[in-house]
């Protein structure tokens, strides 16, 4: 029982990451119809916003400490962050410690700008081009973005810990009457789950309850009619792209303490995010979120020892197997609309 609850928690946690990435992708791919292979790169850029901010906060000057030596036997140069000089050591250290949450504010404008620049500068010209061309251009862009990051940050993973306050685990089990340590879950992952839920709710509310959202939804359904009404749908689609980029970026920002970022992390998520969007059904935002959670939970259960022993390798293939079964029983995924990217 405790194992099952634990894996449900895990599934919700994994699912929230999948859902968040798929949500941004489905705004662009499922609804604007652009096969965006650069979406993983946006997720990665978000994570590197965190790395950049944390490096900026830790900008340092060197102080020579004569009492210690470095690896070559010379006097050790110790880096002292400027923040220590400005705010004193305690406050300075606390600010650096909170780099990840602070990055949320830092990354939103940056990611929106990147998204808008991407749409205006590149994607705009590809709405009417074949999907094949969209794949080539966005894949090229993804590689370029990735290589730029690699050039400046290297290929190794960069540790970006959560603030001290979120280190450690919450004992769920004890709270609901199990033995201590039976069901524990790290604070930061709980934060991630609630963050994802809030962001998803925010995007839905935005599309559902604002005039802007209504126009965009109408434009997704029938772009030409909306344009005939004299509404500039292009500009709104640009903004949607910015929002999608910001959602992907925020997913990346908050993910950094869970998996230390490297330049390749976007590609690792690319395949799974496409699978989630399509399994959810093209053109459906709730579908993408639902599929994210379904696949997340399935993956968690498949990684249980008892199940792997029963079916070796199931943990490797469960997502793909589920995708195949879902697509064969439900032709347009879980909640897909007819006629979107079916030809």
């Amino acid at each position: 029982m405790d194992q099952i609850i634990l894996q449900i928690l895990n599934g919700l946690d994994k699912g929230s990451a999948y859902a968040l990435i798929a949500l941004g992708l489905t705004l662009i791919f499922g609804t604007l119809g652009v096969v965006n292979f650069a979406h993983g790169a946006l997720f990665m850029l978000g994570a590197f916003c965190t790395v950049t901010l944390s490096r900026m906060l830790s900008l340092s000057h060197e102080v020579v400490d004569e009492t210690r030596t470095d690896f070559l036997g010379n006097p050790l140069k110790v880096d002292v962050p400027y923040l220590y000089d400005i705010f004193g050591e305690t406050t300075g250290a606390a600010i650096i410690d909170w780099a990840v949450p602070l990055s949320i504010l830092f990354s939103i404008p940056i990611m929106i700008l990147i998204g808008i620049a991407m749409e205006r500068g590149l994607i705009k010209h590809f709405y009417k081009r074949p999907h094949a061309d969209q794949i080539l251009v966005t894949f090229g862009l993804a590689i370029v973005l990735q290589e730029i990051i690699k050039y400046y940050f290297g290929a190794n993973q960069i540790p970006t810990p959560a603030p001290e306050a979120f280190v450690g685990s919450f004992d769920f089990g004890a709270a609901i009457g199990f033995d201590p340590n039976a069901i524990i879950y790290p604070y930061w992952r709980i934060v991630y789950f609630f963050f994802a839920m809030t962001l998803i709710a925010g995007v839905f509310a935005f599309l559902q309850f604002t005039t802007f959202g209504m126009v965009v939804r109408a434009g997704m359904a029938d772009r030409e009619t909306v344009q005939l009404l004299g509404i500039n749908i292009d500009r709104r689609f640009t903004i949607m792209f910015g929002i999608a980029a910001a959602v992907a970026g925020l997913a990346g920002v908050m993910y950094t303490p869970i998996v230390s970022p490297n330049y390749h992390m976007g590609m690792d998520f690319l395949v799974i995010s496409f699978v989630v969007v399509v399994v959810g059904g093209m053109g459906s935002l709730p579908g993408a979120v639902l599929a994210g959670f379904v696949l997340g939970i399935l993956e968690s259960f498949a990684s249980m020892r008892e199940i792997i022993e029963l079916l070796p390798g199931i943990n490797q293939v469960v997502i793909y197997l589920a995708a195949i079964l879902i697509l064969l029983t439900r032709p347009r995924g879980l909640l897909g609309r007819k006629g979107v990217m079916e030809d």
Partner: protein, 404 residues
């Protein structure tokens, strides 16, 4: 000629000439010169050019004609390779059984996957093929290790049976105690002759010419398919499936046949890869490998005959030539300039070569798709137009473009 019209026959002749003369054409720079770095006329890369050419031609029969974007074609390449390798291990080092068996196995597997995946169209089809291929990849790399050699891959070993008689390539061990090499009735695939003219050096390699011949056969069959009623039906599938069924045509067997043919091309390519370089790694089946053939085809020109081969060549050229340029090479190239300028040039160029070859590749993808919509073939046509005096009559209605 050969059942082709004049234009297609000319194309086939040109491609044959290119394949035949590739060892010369790809080595335009003399040995030892600074530009020799850009020579691509060595057996391994030439083999890769034609083998990936076969893979891309086959993929294009599916994607170019029917518009069905398979994102799992690498599974057939990998299956073909494993099948071929098992033939090399069990039967003989003769490449013929390996090539035949790999094509058949890939055909059988693509029949199964196609039969299921073709129930859906568009992006749903793409994801189904992707899912099958990814399953094949992860299983091959882990639980199927006894069959596939896992992540390390499958290679011939001294202990393999190779049951056929010696003159057919059988036998576990050579006289000098080594693993025999893949061969064609005694001619080893690595055997080469070298021709030196001045400082130019050309390597004529048996393996390359066998692969090149197979590519020509594959190319020829592809032309025939493009020009056949079957090819016409596949174009009809791409254009309007609804009309097709109301015209009394069953799209399913057409699609399935096309998928299987395409899968067999991939299997042939896989078998040849195993025969040229006896080692099969699971990553041959990964989605990145499936994506690579998609990119090759788009880069060269979807639905064109020669485009996929050009796309395959370009990507493999970048992967193998640009990745090998290092800082020391650059310093030699720019060494003629004053020191400060050498440093400057090296600093500017360095991010794009060696470990930065991905960056150059990404930029090239973007440049091609932005400036040459329709791929390299279209670029070639544009250049040809610039040079031809004859002005094409403008047809406002749009004459249907022949699939070139």
């Amino acid at each position: 000629m050969l059942g082709l019209d004049k234009k297609d026959f000319t194309l086939l002749l040109i491609v044959s000439a290119l394949v035949l003369l590739a060892p010369l054409l790809l080595n335009p720079f003399p040995e030892g010169s600074a530009m020799a770095q850009f020579n691509a006329g060595y057996p391994d890369l030439m083999q890769r050019f034609v083998i990936f050419g076969i893979f891309a031609i086959g993929f294009n029969i599916l994607f170019g004609l029917t518009g069905y974007l398979s994102f799992g074609h690498a599974a057939f390449l990998g299956a073909g390779s494993y099948a071929g390798m098992w033939m090399l291990k069990l039967l003989s080092m003769n490449v013929i059984p390996a090539i035949i068996f790999s094509t058949l196995i890939a055909g059988a597997i693509s029949f199964l996957i196609g039969w299921i995946s073709l129930r859906r169209s568009g992006i749903y089809f793409s994801i189904l093929t992707l899912a099958f291929a990814q399953m094949a990849f992860v299983l091959a790399a882990s639980v199927l290790t006894p069959i596939t050699g896992g992540e390390t891959g499958l290679q011939p070993a001294l202990s393999d049976p190779r049951i056929l008689p010696e003159f057919l390539g059988g036998g576990s061990v050579t006289a000098d105690g080594n693993i025999p090499k893949p061969s064609l009735f005694g001619i080893e695939m690595t055997a080469s002759s070298e021709v030196a003219v001045g400082n130019w050096l050309w390597t004529l390699n048996w393996g390359y010419y066998l692969s090149g011949f197979m590519m020509l056969v594959a190319f020829y069959i592809a032309i025939r398919i493009f020009r056949s009623p079957f090819g016409l039906m596949l174009k009809a599938v791409k254009s309007n499936q609804q009309r097709m069924s109301y015209t009394g045509l069953n799209t399913r067997p057409y699609m399935l046949a096309c998928f299987v043919i395409s899968g067999m091309y991939a299997g042939l390519a896989g078998g040849l890869m195993a025969a040229m370089d006896p080692q099969v790694g699971a990553e041959r089946m990964q989605w990145t490998a499936s994506g690579e053939v998609v990119l090759m085809t788009i880069l060269g020109g979807v639905g064109t005959l020669i485009g996929p081969v050009l796309g395959a060549g370009l990507i493999k050229y970048f992967e193998n030539i640009f990745s090998k340029i290092n800082k020391a090479t650059l310093e030699v190239w720019f060494g003629v300039f004053p020191d400060w300028m050498t440093d400057l040039m090296v600093t500017i160029v360095y991010p794009f070569i060696g470990k930065g070859w991905h960056l150059t590749l990404g930029l090239m993808f973007m440049a091609v798709v932005i400036f040459l919509p329709g791929g390299l073939v279209e670029g070639g046509q544009k250049i040809a137009k610039l040079f031809s005096r004859k002005k094409e009559p403008e047809t406002p209605g749009g004459e249907a473009k022949p699939a070139e």
